[in-house]
């Protein structure tokens, strides 16, 4: 949603290992950062859910048999837009289109529902996935929050 020249009002950067304990940490960190926009309860819940999905993907899929670094950038743009980028340097996604299909999962034995991207897509305004096999994946989520005046 942020047009190329939209002003960044605030930005945080986090880096953490792909431990499943950090799923909770990362969504709470973003939730805390977003709170300055005075979001509604359901908006915060949407953001937390989407972040949790993206970070879980990096932990479960990108760094399947290893612990790697996950980098998270969150920004607040003018016009009440929140931007979150979750980047890993894991195995990458060979076929993004396929990966985004609802119910498609490469880990059914782990009871992954295959709905991560579907949830991110419906809970945020925009979802962008960039990936290169062997290099890693970046997931960019944006959402415009309602202002109190709306």
């Amino acid at each position: 949603m942020p047009a190329k020249k939209t002003k960044i009002l605030n930005e945080i950067k986090l880096s953490f290992p792909s431990l499943s304990e950090n799923e909770r940490f990362s969504r709470l960190a973003v939730s805390g950062f977003a709170s300055q926009l005075d979001p509604q309860v359901d908006e915060i819940s949407d953001i937390k859910t989407a972040v949790s999905e993206a970070v879980t993907n990096s932990i479960v899929h990108a760094y399947k048999n290893e612990i790697g670094k996950i980098e998270l950038v969150a920004r607040i743009y003018e016009d009440n837009v929140i931007y979150i980028k979750i980047k890993d340097h894991g195995c990458g996604i060979p076929d993004i289109k396929k990966a985004m299909e609802p119910l498609f999962t490469t880990s059914p034995e782990e009871e992954r529902a295959g709905l991560g991207f579907a949830v991110m897509e419906s809970f945020m305004d925009k979802l962008k996935v960039l990936s290169k096999e062997g290099k890693g994946t970046s997931v960019i989520l944006t959402k415009k929050l309602k202002t109190k005046l709306d």
Binding site: E23, L28, D42, T49, I96, S122, V129
Partner: protein, 167 residues
């Protein structure tokens, strides 16, 4: 706190798992394990998963329901989703999990919840009757998101949105 399960033997066998806290990939494993141990022992026809005390859930919760549905189906049993708060229900509806497990809103008498809690406490003394378990699940008290008023119409609106921007 955690997961409380108790058995209710009436005309049909019913097992209710009271899940509390946050369900994500990290916590789902232990919740799944505790439910399955008890389901394996008691083999209930109806498995009720109570979400009323769940304050966060991502698609790992959907995986949890799907997995239990699969196991119950193999034995001819059913799974029900009991009392999900609005924001939890929203995730479920986006996933369409209600097609596999019916969402029911049931008034749980306080006495029954109490019974479940008591059983957790008495777990050590009841030999051969471990039909109650307790699991530590993340719980964030500062984060009570259950109060928002989300209608399912809103959810459908969101789910129908087309915002694909893939590269």
């Amino acid at each position: 706190m955690g997961l409380k399960i108790y058995d209710e033997v009436e005309e049909k066998s019913k097992l209710t798992a009271y899940i509390s806290g946050e369900i994500d990939h990290h916590s789902a494993k232990s919740i799944r394990k505790e439910i399955d141990i008890n389901v394996e022992k008691l083999k209930p026809t109806d498995l009720y998963l109570d979400f009323s005390k769940v304050d966060f859930m991502d698609s790992s919760g959907i995986g949890l329901v799907m997995g239990r549905y699969k196991l119950q189906s193999e034995r001819g049993g059913k799974v029900f989703i009991q009392n999900p708060p609005p924001l939890i229900k929203k995730v479920m509806l986006v996933a369409g999990i209600n097609k596999l497990a019916k969402i029911v809103n049931i008034d749980v008498p306080l006495s029954e919840m109490q019974k479940a809690k008591e059983s957790v406490k008495n777990c050590d003394n009841t030999e051969g009757q471990p039909d109650v378990v307790s699991v530590d699940v993340h719980k964030n008290d500062a984060d009570k998101n259950n109060t928002s008023e989300n209608s399912s119409e809103e959810v459908e609106g969101n789910a129908g949105k087309e915002n694909k921007n893939t590269k």
